[in-house]
């Protein structure tokens, strides 16, 4: 984002678009924080805040998409600019979906809280939610800094969220076997856990976009080792070291 173009107007447009994208990211991060607070305090108030922000996130997604279409049509970008614009489109989509998942969590928490006392380990979801929200923040930082190392560590971090999800599901199963009356509520919790796991995946997708912008390498659906080779290999060829 720092390289100069002949048209400084184009630079400004790109910078403005990145700013809007990251502002949208900030809003989604705030949603995730509130979803986490709703889980922690089992409070409907925080849940409402998540749902209110949801509308703003949606509006921002549309505004960014419009701007993107306009820039691509007018500037017909190539190389790194094209990759950046494509990535912005992908990141926007992923952020919007992460926001949706946060709203899903908020709605579930609200209905669980309204239904009365919670006899199931709702608070156990906090760790996973915290991890996933941290990953989103980290991936957006990586995007702002175009930092492939941080992006790669986000990819690795997603595995922790998945592990947390698997652990929680195993735990829920024990509750359901012990007392079938808890099954209905367990299913609600399962949806929350799944939403958290999906947020981790969206963070991963954003991180992959960072690698795509910087290295031009599409690392989607690649193993971690392959991705690492891609990042390191590209770095070696840049510095000219073997």
């Amino acid at each position: 984002m720092t390289e100069k173009h002949l048209s400084s107007q184009f630079d400004n447009e790109l910078a403005q678009l990145s700013s809007n994208l990251l502002a949208m990211g900030g809003l989604v991060e705030a949603q995730l924080r509130q979803a986490l607070a709703a889980l922690t305090h089992q409070s409907g108030e925080f849940a409402e805040a998540v749902l209110t922000d949801e509308l703003r996130v949606n509006a921002m997604e549309i505004a960014i998409d419009d701007e993107l279409t306009r820039i691509i049509a007018r500037r017909q970008p190539a190389a790194v600019d094209l990759r950046l614009l494509l990535s912005i489109a992908r990141v926007t989509g992923n952020l919007e979906r992460a926001g949706d998942e946060a709203a899903k969590i908020a709605r579930m928490v609200r209905s669980i809280v309204n239904a009365g006392a919670v006899s199931l380990p709702l608070a156990d979801l906090r760790l996973g939610c915290d991890l996933a929200a941290g990953l989103i923040a980290k991936s957006l930082d990586a995007f702002a800094r175009l930092d492939t190392i941080a992006a790669f560590s986000t990819l690795k971090g997603d595995a922790d969220v998945d592990r947390e999800f698997d652990g929680f599901v195993r735990k829920l199963i024990t509750y359901m076997m012990e007392d079938p009356r808890t099954i209905t509520q367990s299913l609600d919790l399962l949806f929350i856990a799944k939403a958290i796991e999906r947020i981790g995946d969206h963070a991963k997708n954003i991180a992959e976009c960072v690698i795509y912008v910087v290295k031009g390498a599409d690392v989607r659906h690649r193993s971690l080792a392959e991705t690492e080779a891609e990042i390191v290999g590209a770095m070696d060829s840049e510095t000219g070291e073997p």
Partner: protein, 420 residues
């Protein structure tokens, strides 16, 4: 004719020789200027020598100035990094020019790498973005959550923005976490304390007025005085607990030097619990089984441990009623931590109250102490939790409504002392 040609030739040769010599000197001069240590100085008497000397002087003056301003800048940077508050210098549109280490920690920035980055790309909290992009004046300071600190605790920041120079912005950030926590605590605290102290005072004032105005019989007087004594005892207990809490908060962590004789402390607490049970429900009404045999000791503050244990026992006695059955004992868990557990068969506590039990003055049943007047201050579990955490442990509470509760002090194994 020939002579003139020869003369011209000699002159030409001389001029060429002079040129070559001059050129060599010039080259030496250039070499010497570039690196005075590597080559000899040009002849100081010649023109080149004088030029060299004066250039050298001018250069070294310049070098000294550069060195001095670099040193001054270095000192300034060190001072900025040593400030307790965060400082970020920004370009007008928000690109980071400089940030000190504190600001980097507050906002989650990288002081080196993030220069030139737009601050709202990295500090994306919508609160901050809106505040920062707002063009109106005056701009009130912003209070916002900061980047979690090194131990992962949330941080509250107070951020101020100040324009300076022609097109620069100064952001100042101060960590107000502790301040805000104290504020909130003080508010709740004042509300609760004033309520809990005013109630007995109102009762006392009423009795005093009665005693002053009415001519009472000896029996009535004795009864009133008894009630007044009860109220003052309650206030004393409350003030005592308040002082204990403030001591716990204000004092340094207990050292590992003091050996707490757990047998003695447990025996003392057991005696207290028996006395309280007798006072509330009469002799032998409750069943108390308190094992005073402990085969290890503990390093910590004896008075604190005693207070934590007696609070748990007193709660069990108070809340399990006249048919209560209470067991208490010390044990070691699988990891070697010391564990003092108190189990009762009382009414139990509903799950929604459990996370808030250790808050000051939190009551599961708001009407309870007023009607029973059993001497509980509402601070017991806060004190217990404080004590346990100060000793590197935790307070575990398990409760099933209708079946009873289990409160356990789990104390770090690093403080457990085997009895030799």
């Amino acid at each position: 004719m020939n002579a003139i040609l020869i003369l011209l030739f000699v002159l030409l040769a001389g001029a060429v020789a002079l040129l070559i010599i001059n050129r060599q000197r010039a080259r030496r001069f250039v070499h010497w200027i570039a690196d005075p240590t590597a080559s000899a100085m040009p002849d100081p008497a010649g023109d080149w020598g004088r030029a060299a000397a004066s250039t050298r002087r001018a250069l070294s003056r310049g070098e000294a100035q550069v060195k001095e301003s670099a040193a001054r800048l270095e000192r300034l940077m060190t001072a900025l990094d040593a400030l307790p508050d965060g400082i970020v210098l920004l370009h007008r549109e928000g690109r980071i020019l400089f940030c000190n280490a504190v600001a980097a920690a507050h906002f989650g920035l990288d002081a080196e790498r993030d220069q030139g980055q737009h601050i709202i790309h990295l500090v994306r909290d919508p609160l901050f973005v809106t505040w920062f992009s707002w063009y109106g004046e005056p701009r009130p300071p912003l209070e916002m959550p900061g980047h979690a600190n090194a131990s992962g605790q949330p941080v509250q920041l107070l951020v101020q923005r100040q324009a300076y120079g022609a097109d620069r912005i100064l952001l100042l950030s101060a960590d107000v976490t502790a301040q805000r926590r104290t504020d909130a605590m003080r508010r709740d605290f004042v509300a609760n304390v004033s309520h809990d102290i005013r109630t007995p005072l109102t009762v006392l004032a009423g009795f005093i007025e009665t005693l002053q105005n009415l001519d009472l019989s000896g029996d009535e007087k004795a009864r009133y005085l008894g009630l007044m004594a009860q109220q003052t005892t309650r206030m004393q207990a409350l003030v005592g607990d308040l002082l204990m809490l403030s001591r716990l908060e204000g004092s340094p962590l207990p050292g590992k030097g003091e050996r707490v004789d757990l047998r003695e402390v447990t025996a003392h607490c057991a005696a207290e619990a028996f006395a309280l049970s007798t006072r509330l429900y009469g002799e032998e009404a409750q069943h108390l089984h308190i094992e005073t045999a402990v085969d290890f000791d503990f390093a910590g503050a004896a008075s604190e441990i005693r207070s934590a244990m007696s609070n748990l026992l007193a709660n069990a006695v108070r809340y399990s009623g006249a048919k209560g059955c209470i067991t208490a004992r010390w044990s070691r868990d699988s990891e070697g931590n010391a564990c003092f557990e108190v189990t009762d068969n009382g009414p139990g506590i509903a799950a929604e109250h459990l996370p808030r039990l250790t808050e000051r003055f939190y009551r599961v049943d708001k009407s309870r102490t007023r009607q029973n007047d059993d001497g509980g201050t509402g601070l017991g579990l806060s004190i217990t939790k404080h004590v346990v955490e100060r000793h590197g442990g935790k307070l575990q509470i398990v409760s099933t409504p209708g079946q009873g509760s289990r409160f356990a002090l789990v104390l770090a194994r690093t403080r457990v002392l085997e009895r030799g």
